[in-house]
């Protein structure tokens, strides 16, 4: 099997198996389908890992239908696979496999639609990471979306699940229209859809069309990435979606949106927009910082543990957008390592919340007050996960943030990493705050007048003692261990840097894709020793503990209660705009797109 053939294999095999599963689903036992899905997940992981290894020796290009370009004009669709795309595709397949393993004992009964839709969703994500064609990217965006809406509504007896899926579907569809609008603009100008050919045809001059086409495509993709003010759907959908699915939503789907922005920028628009990169940087960092802090602060205000984790994902999106906004190879490298570290951590935490939901029947922190004493392993996993979210060594998020910090220093934004550190510590602190209440009953007693959050029905017949849920604990512990291991792999940083260099090499991509020149093996530039940033990593962990301690114990201090009330009132306006009304989300989306477009267009000209 040549590496070129691996690329289409990785997305079409799960599609074929999904159809097979739907056809035979009603006639075979549930376990057969589950096993088939897990085997497919493992197969795709292996295929994508092999693909990533091949891509390290030169970008792998597969022309569908065998239609290689004629005189620099692409006739068909190409998958152009660089190491970063392949690594993220492999990560997708890996997370899907773990999520499917988790479901093995999680649901008492899950009908055929669940594994079938999960495989479709995975295939869409893999295709999304591998494709080198702009319209094909949109198709996978929509396929990913439709499978995700259906899966979000999976527990359709719960009306908040269907409502969450509805808001998700509406907002993401508008995002898709924005992407199409951008595609129509560049296609009308250049008559090309292949990314490499587009970048060649757009040239090095930025006019209103090129700037706004990028703004629309980026806004559409950032809806998926949940950048503020496009993020409202995420918290609603994550809180109600089946927990194994949240692992994929928070772990890779949201980040896939950001990956695509980076991919479209570097493969298509970086030539045209190069002279204005400082404008793009400033605008995106502004959006990113607002997102990071809005998410971090909202996470602190949650008593629904899954919704808390969802807001933490929004905060981390803000951090990742800032990493991309540096617009350097090193920034991309840091972003990717951070995505992997964060995805594993968040996956582990969501699986922990799944165990709570499965065993205790709720994820309401106030209801669970002190109840986690009986679940020491769960508490340890949540504790480690919280430290990892803050970016404490030796977790993968720490390695990612140290790469991002070096990248920011390089272009004279030395202040940025410290600000991002505080945002990350906020999310870690929010999880620790919830853990302190659930495990030890710390913190001020819950306000009896407080509104209970929307009712969450248990995802399986919850309850009681059906023995130690070994498979569930094993899956979540495995993800947390991986989150740590990925930060310790020797050479990970320099491999990421090499892959980042490849990712931003527009001319190189063009030569390989359109002129079929052979690719070169990955350069492995030495990374700065992480020892220099160890101190800031531990500081982030300490800060997270401090935030949690303030939230848990400040009310015992003489002036503490007043301070808590002041903090609580700061939360009020933020809470008010997260009101769960879908028409508001549409208005915010329109306003955000208009703001992004206006800022870029007005400033770049």
């Amino acid at each position: 099997m040549t590496p070129e053939a691996l690329a289409p294999l990785a997305f079409s095999v799960p599609l074929a198996v999904a159809a097979l599963g739907a056809a035979i689903g009603p006639f075979v036992p549930r376990r057969v389908l589950d096993a088939l899905a897990i085997a497919t997940g493992l197969f795709c992981t292996a295929a994508c890992v092999l693909l990533a290894r091949a891509a390290a020796h030169g970008t792998v290009v597969h022309w569908f239908g065998g239609w290689t370009p004629r005189h620099g004009i692409a006739l068909g669709i190409a998958f152009a696979v660089d190491p970063i795309g392949a690594a993220l595709a492999a990560f997708t397949a890996f997370l899907t496999t773990v999520a499917l393993l988790f479901t093995w004992t999680y649901y008492d009964e899950s009908g055929p639609p669940f594994p079938v839709l999960m495989l479709t969703f995975m295939a869409a994500l893999i295709g999304f990471f591998l494709t080198g064609d702009l319209f094909n990217l949109f198709v996978f965006f929509e396929l990913m979306g439709v499978a995700a809406y259906a899966l979000t509504a999976y527990r359709s007896e719960d009306d908040s699940a269907v409502l969450g899926a509805f808001a998700f579907g509406v907002v993401n569809s508008i995002g898709a229209f924005l992407i199409l609008l951008g595609i129509a603009l560049v296609y009308g100008r250049t008559g090309a859809l292949n990314m490499a050919q587009l970048s060649h045809a757009l040239g090095a001059h930025a006019d209103a069309l090129a700037i706004l086409a990028f703004a629309f495509i980026a806004a559409g993709l950032l809806v998926k990435a949940a950048l503020a003010p496009f993020h409202f759907w995420l918290a609603d959908a994550h809180a109600v979606a089946p927990t194994p699915l949240c692992v994929l939503f928070s772990g890779i789907m949201v980040q896939a949106g950001l990956y695509a922005v980076a991919r479209v920028y570097w493969s298509v628009f970086s030539g045209a927009l190069a002279e204005h990169d400082h404008v793009l940087r400033t605008v995106l960092i502004a959006f990113g910082l607002v997102t990071a802090f809005a998410g971090g602060i909202m996470a602190f205000g949650q008593r629904h543990f899954k919704r808390l984790l969802a807001f933490s994902t929004i905060a981390h999106t803000g951090i990742l957008v800032c990493a991309f906004a540096l617009l350097t190879a090193r920034g991309v490298a840091g972003m990717v390592v951070y995505v992997l570290g964060h995805g594993l951590t968040k996956g582990g935490l969501f699986l922990c919340s799944g165990i709570l939901l499965n065993r205790l029947g709720t994820v309401d922190v106030d209801v669970l007050r002190g109840k986690l004493r009986t679940k020491p392993w769960g508490s340890v996993a949540i504790f480690l996960g919280a430290l990892a979210l803050a970016g404490t060594p030796p977790f993968g998020t720490f390695l990612g943030s140290s790469l991002i910090a070096h990248a920011a220093d390089e272009i004279g934004l030395g202040w940025l990493p410290w600000v991002l550190l505080v945002a990350a510590a906020l999310t870690g602190g929010a999880v620790l705050n919830a853990l302190g209440r659930m495990a030890f009953g710390w913190g001020p007693p819950p306000d009896p007048r407080a509104k209970t959050p929307a009712h969450e029905s248990p995802e399986a017949s919850a309850g009681g003692d059906r023995g130690f849920p070994l498979m569930m604990y094993a899956c979540s512990a495995f993800l947390i261990v991986c989150a740590c291991a990925i930060g310790l792999v020797p050479g990970a940083a320099s491999a990421a840097l090499g892959a980042g260099e490849r990712f931003v090499d527009r001319a190189g991509q063009l030569a390989i894709v359109l002129k079929e020149m052979p690719g070169a093996a990955l350069a492995m530039p030495p990374a700065e020793p992480i020892a220099t940033s160890l101190a800031s990593g531990f500081l982030a962990g300490a800060l997270a503990l401090a935030f949690a301690a303030i939230a848990l114990f400040a009310h015992r201090l003489p002036s503490g209660a007043g301070a808590m009330r002041a903090l609580e009132s700061a939360l009020v306006p933020l809470r008010r705009i997260h009101d769960g009304v879908v028409t508001d989300y549409v208005a915010w989306l329109a306003a955000g797109t208009a703001a992004l477009g206006t800022a870029l267009a007005a400033w770049m000209r």
């Binding site: 319209f135 198709v139 929509e142 979306g145 439709v146 809406y149 259906a150 509504a153 359709s156 009306d159 908040s160 269907v162 409502l163 969450g164 899926a165 509805f166 808001a167 579907g169 509406v170 569809s173 508008i174 898709a176 229209f177 199409l180 609008l181 595609i183 129509a184 603009l185 296609y187 009308g188 008559g191 859809l193 918290a235 609603d236 809180a239 109600v240 205000g301 949650q302 629904h304 919704r307 509104k451 959050p453 929307a454 809470r575 997260h578 009101d579 769960g580 009304v581 879908v582 028409t583 508001d584 549409v586 208005a587 329109a590």
Partner: protein, 115 residues
């Protein structure tokens, strides 16, 4: 003149659809406005591949080599239409399910979660 009309129409449809969605008081109305907003993309994509005085890209009655419009935009719009129809139907099913449970379709009254 025709250029301005041609390209202003999809822009208008898109914004009108968005306006309808944001001011909607009924989820079904909102879904149909979403569908209208999507139709703006059909129109714009077809227009950018259009060529005055050219035939359709079907060389049955006309010989290959005749001036024809772009076949690619037709294929893209076809895909877009299928996507639009299926998403619309899926959202309608969601709305129906919500109605059965809550007996209302007013977005203001249907808050999934707050705060």
């Amino acid at each position: 003149m025709i250029s301005f009309i041609a390209f202003a129409v999809p822009a208008w449809i898109f914004v009108a659809g968005l306006y309808g969605m944001a001011t909607s008081r009924n989820l079904i109305h909102l879904i149909l406005c979403l569908s209208v907003a999507q139709s703006s993309t059909y129109v714009l994509i077809l227009e950018v591949g259009y060529r005055l005085g050219a035939t359709a890209p079907v060389f049955g009655d006309v010989l290959p080599g005749t001036r024809a419009v772009d076949p690619v935009v037709d294929a893209l719009t076809l895909t877009d239409i299928v996507v639009g129809a299926t998403v619309t139907a899926l959202l309608l099913a969601f709305a129906l399910r919500i109605y059965k449970k809550r007996q209302t379709l007013d977005p203001e009254a249907l808050r999934a979660m707050e705060g």
